[in-house]
Symmetry: C2
Subunit: 150 residues, 2 copies
């Protein structure tokens, strides 16, 4: 495989990122790649928040992966800062290439660089392959993730 | 019960908040209420981040509860903003008083006010009473929560 670059997403990357979000069993039901306006507004909110890191993986000029890393200070665990990984996607052409591992490794390295003591994420209970993937990378499935739609 | 006020935590509230974090089966092992320096540094990081809301519940001048709400913009789910609840604690004297419900209701109301479309949290798999509590409040245990200590 040729060289991979992981870098902050730019506004011009929005269509490629949204296409990956939608190309997913769960994402297909809740994304609207034909209407990018809400994504452009959200991109601006991300760009305005220094604790948000939306990155893309690029290979041969194509966007092949993405994730969002959020840095969250807090009092608990002796004032630990934690990071949260959301919105991990790997392009269909790249599945099985090790790109998912490289993306998560980037997030873990960046979290360490930002003095986080904990990295966390939640994964839909139906994504059993993803659960094995995170456990192979050293994550522990110690928590139950609750959501409430508003 | 007399009136309850939920308000942003001030630096003078740090000892009371840390005491509650430590008065907990899991927190007892990972907090250091006798050394507040790391908590004071973390408090400043929270105060510097406009998307962080560390609040306390006060009754008759005493701090009786706390939680941290984080507002997280994102591209997924059509550019949804979500909130994350962390560090929920109710003082031992107040358990069973309905204060936990009032704290979570505050977080849900504030999330709505900040245009969040989703509220989420994770709860340690051992906290089965907490899981029933969140389900009663309308949350769905749809996800598995993974953590990696750095």
């Amino acid at each position: 495989m040729s060289d991979l670059e992981i870098r902050p997403a730019a506004p011009t990357d929005i269509p490629a990122v949204v296409a990956m979000l939608a190309d997913d069993p769960l994402g297909a039901q809740r994304e609207s790649p034909d209407d990018l306006a809400p994504y452009r507004a959200a991109f601006q909110r991300l760009a305005d928040d220094p604790n948000q890191h939306l990155v893309i993986a690029v290979r041969e000029g194509s966007v092949v992966g993405t994730l969002q890393l959020t840095v969250i200070p807090g009092l608990s665990r002796r004032g630990s800062t934690r990071s949260i990984i959301e919105g991990v996607r790997v392009h269909a052409d790249e599945r099985g290439s090790g790109l998912g591992t490289q993306l998560i490794q980037w997030a873990v390295d960046e979290s360490r660089r930002q003095n986080c003591q904990l990295v966390q994420l939640t994964s839909d209970a139906t994504r059993t392959d993803a659960h094995r993937f995170y456990e192979r990378l050293g994550f522990t499935a110690s928590h139950v993730g609750f959501k409430l739609a508003l």
